[in-house]
């Protein structure tokens, strides 16, 4: 370790809380609807995404209620098929994919760079309205037509019969796709061009590395989905044979197109989640993240490898043996960077100063759930066991552990971590921790039994099942109810903080990244002076200050440079 001369960051006692901030900067509904402020756009996304999550959650409850006992309870098979389709489609397209990047990313990304806004603020607002329009088409489909194809829209089921709902729903997804592309483009350019002085690529906070990898995938993969859905619409409306064998098409071609987008999309969902966890684990351990470069490179390698594994969704879809061999091998190669991240997070805890605040609780829960999700993925990457497990509840459990246990819990980790910054309010640790723990218990009870019934053969997307599987379905339904209670507590705690939470300091957690240097909530223009960047995980450069009830920069601090 060497002491070297670097620009010393020594601002005067910073302002902690601003009464005049971005939230009350201007008034009136139009000042929100036409805003170009990334923070306000982020909050609007947060509202939309939360509404979508609530809607998708209601569908989930309906599914588990129907499956509580064998035989049909209160839905017909048609209704069940529509409900599971809407649950999947709403959760994937309206919540998980945009959740962390669009809602949290929009608020945090420019702040983390010390920038005034994203590179293209108007495009950013455009993305939001594309999202709203896409969501609108979804809700329209929901209210007027029965969409029952599953969120994957597999052909030829989606192009035959009287599936007019498919057209409006896929057009909605098409618009959502453009929203995603524009957001990715915006973030990519922002990270490239608007980094503050001193923020070299190797001083980029890991959240930004994750967002960068996500942006690459959003820009390169989503157009394929757009084209695919256009082809699907052309086939249904114009009768051009592309996927429907009755018209000379090939249904498996659709699966190739679909998963060429949707596999990277899986990483569009999980990479931002991992990025959030890296920030939270380091902040609440008050310790430099372990293996910074490995985490950063693993984000980019996951982003690139994610384009080469789509075929693992099709091991039993008549894929050739050679293709299965190649896709299985590449799939394992993508498992390694994920494993590395988990080990790095654990090593960050080692000899840290660990505080179990709500965001950290979510991050630890994430590590457990993501570990289960990742390890059970091995069964599905191995060709022989995948043949047995494909399209069973084992797969359902696996991707819920990754998407919900992973992305949702990371979303909550990030939401609670940046909540003081976004709203200027502190929530009650007691009720938020309680909500987190109840949700964690409920989640495990809801989805772990699904592994067992899946490996015993229970296929997915069944409106009804044989009594052999009753016990597992009932455990799962009870777990879902507990999960619902947990989420209600979480929502209660956050909403209550808006009204009665105490004012948040600029840096309540002791993080070293730049977004904590501006007051909470930030002013409209974010920073009075462009901040300079140092190592984002040099936790010693801030210290606890009793007077302000938060962390403040150490006066005259000289960073220790690690090699």
């Amino acid at each position: 370790m060497t002491q070297v001369d670097v620009p010393v960051i020594a601002p005067d006692r910073p302002v902690q809380h601003l009464d005049h901030n971005y939230i009350n900067h201007s008034k009136g509904i139009l000042s929100w609807l036409l805003t170009l402020d990334h923070k306000r756009i982020g909050l609007m996304y947060l509202a939309g995404i939360s509404a979508s999550f609530f809607l998708g959650g209601l569908f989930a409850m309906a599914i588990r209620l129907e499956l509580f006992a064998p035989g049909m309870q209160f839905m017909s098979a048609e209704q069940y098929n529509q409900v599971f389709t809407l649950h999947g489609a709403v959760m994937v397209f309206l919540f998980i994919i945009p959740g962390i990047p669009a809602a949290l990313g929009n608020v945090v990304l420019p702040l983390m760079l010390g920038a005034k806004d994203v590179a293209f603020p108007r495009l950013n607002l455009g993305s939001f309205y594309l999202w709203i329009s896409g969501a609108g088409f979804f809700v329209y489909t929901l209210l007027t037509k029965g969409l029952d194809t599953g969120w994957t829209f597999y052909t030829p089921y989606s192009t035959t019969g009287n599936n007019t709902a498919v057209i409006s729903a896929t057009f909605g997804v098409f618009l959502l796709g453009f929203s995603s592309i524009f957001t990715g483009l915006n973030f990519l350019v922002t990270i490239h061009k608007m980094r503050p002085p001193g923020m070299t690529w190797h001083k980029l906070p890991l959240f930004l590395w994750g967002m960068y990898g996500t942006a690459i995938m959003q820009i390169l993969a989503t157009p394929v989905l757009g084209i695919t859905l256009l082809l699907l619409i052309m086939e249904s409306t114009l009768g051009i044979g592309i996927f429907d064998p009755n018209k000379g098409g090939d249904p498996v071609l659709y699966q190739h197109f679909f998963w060429f987008y949707s596999h990277p999309a899986v990483y569009i969902m999980i990479l931002p989640a991992m990025a959030v966890i890296s920030e939270v684990i380091a902040a609440f351990s008050r310790k430099h993240i372990f293996g910074y470069r490995m985490i950063a490179y693993s984000s980019v390698s996951i982003a690139l490898l994610s384009f080469l594994v789509w075929g693992h969704h099709m091991f039993v879809s008549s894929e050739s043996t050679l293709a299965t061999l190649i896709f299985s091998a590449i799939t394992f190669s993508i498992a390694i960077p994920s494993a590395i991240k988990v080990f790095n997070w654990l090593a960050t805890l080692y000899k840290g100063s660990v505080a179990l605040n709500t965001p950290m609780l979510y991050a630890l829960e994430f590590i457990w759930l993501f570990t289960i999700g990742g390890l059970t993925g091995l069964f599905l990457a191995v060709l022989s066991t995948d043949v047995a497990l494909h399209d069973t509840y084992f797969v359902v459990a696996h991707f819920h552990y990754v998407m919900v246990g992973g992305t949702l819990f990371a979303f909550f980790a990030g939401l609670h971590y940046w909540w003081p910054k976004m709203t200027g309010k502190m929530y009650s640790e007691t009720s938020s921790r309680l909500g987190s723990i109840v949700a964690f218990i409920g989640f495990n009870l809801a989805f772990f039994p699904q592994f067992i019934m899946g490996s015993r053969g229970m296929p997915r997307r069944y409106a009804d099942y044989k009594p052999d599987f009753e016990l597992f379905h009932q455990l799962s339904s009870v777990g879902t109810a507990i999960l619902g209670v947990g989420l209600a507590i979480v929502a209660y705690s956050l909403v209550r903080s808006l009204f009665s939470g105490k004012k948040a300091p600029a840096n309540p957690w002791g993080s070293a990244t730049i977004e904590w240097e501006c007051p909470s909530p930030p002013p409209h223009h974010n920073f009075d002076h462009p901040p300079a960047a140092t190592d984002p995980y040099d936790m010693e450069r801030v210290e606890w200050n009793e007077e302000v009830g938060g962390y403040v920069p150490v006066q005259g601090y000289r960073p220790v440079v690690h090699h």
Binding site: N162, V252, L349, Y350, T385, A388, D391, G457, R460, K466
Partner: protein
Amino acid sequence: MKFGALSLSLVLAAGIAGGVTLAAEPTSSEAAAPAPAAPAQDVDALIAQYNSKARAQALEAGESYTYREFSNEERGWIREGAEAKRAAAVDGLIAEYNAGLSGMPARVFTDEEKFWIAMALDPAEVESVYEGHTAIPTGNPNKVLYMEAGELQKPIESDPQYGTPPAAQNTAPLAEELDPALRPSLWVPVAASETAEEVDAMFNFIMYINYFFAALIAVLMVVFCVKYRRRPGVRADQSITHNTPLEIFWSVVPTILVAIMFWGGYKTFLDLRTSPPDAMQIYVKARQWGWDFTYQNGVETAGEFHVPANTPIEMVMTSNDVLHSFHLPAFRQKSDVLPNRYTKVWFDSGEPRTYRVYCSEYCGTGHSNMYSKLVVEPREDYEAWLKKEGNWMVGPDGEYKEPLEIGKLTYVRRGCNACHSIDGKHGTGPTFAGLWGLERRFDAAGDNKRIADEDYIRQSITDPHSQLVYPYGKNMSIYDPMLPEPQIIGMIEYIKSLADVPRDADAW
């Protein structure tokens, strides 16, 4: 069970007579009500039992055995003999049941119910068929009215030939693979073949690795969080930022483990996908929502399929409509079934047992009812079954059955019942009840319409999408090749016979 002794005596008698003449002579009918004719398959079952026993005896004696065929005359003797004894036995069972009611008025059974009793149901079980309903006999022996919630419901016409009581429809076969005694572990169903055991070996290997890493990560997480919890005056050790040897170690070890998994999984996958050259092929056609099987001798069967024990079987599969997936958990086998190409799975059938087949690729409304049953049985039983299946349109007299009978059987065997009800309720397709002679409208306004006559029904079977009744969609399978002529005629007759059954107002 109840007829075990009966058939045994028959077989013994047949054995003593050398199989040339049968001892059972028709006795004078002592039964009060005329029992319905014993169906052909019962005669077949008795013959199969006879052959099975005789074969076993021959093998024990070190002799070869050829399957004993029975002439139609002989079959008639068997049938009548069984029928007379059966009628008596059924009456005895009913008397026993009524005696057990102690004080309550005796239960009168319809001819149809008597038939069910003859087929194996207990009188008490017959009652359970109507669980929640009160059965009311009618003059028609094949019609049962029932009460539900105090209201008289529409008559259910069930099919005595097929013998399926209304409430028992769509019941899946027992899944022996899920029997706790046969399951090798908490996680998986019975492994029915060596290949399945290979898959399980890999499954267990990965599971142990999962247990190890999950435990390791959980323990480290908890220990670190407790040991290094935030305490006043204690700072985090900022000197630990990375450790290259450690990071290489924890990258290389998982890489080696997944390389082992990958290679082992690939090898077994080749076993799952490469059938032995002597495998017996069965052609499979999946449709919304059922499975049709065609054997190499041209015999077609639906709903369930039988295979001989300890034989490699290759399923050559294609779909009539959308994607399906042939999912056989006990053999750890699965493949999607596509409308535009053949896919194949194979399995070594192993010991005699019954397994469930699922459709595991989402295919629409009836997806969760798209089961089939795989029956693995001794070769001679399999051969008898195949023979019986091949002759399902032929009566015990060796002649074709009446068109109406063929129609009733076609309705079930071809899976029409998955979408078209006969009780007046509308399903994925229009109900057959009261369809005959009805005006069919092909648009909302009714500008485009047609009377449901023979021509209409024929075209609806052979080219259903050419005349879609409003507002139904293009859901029906196009039968390619179309149904054989006797079955089309049978369907016309069957729909004709349902002309007077009332249909619901919303069953267009």
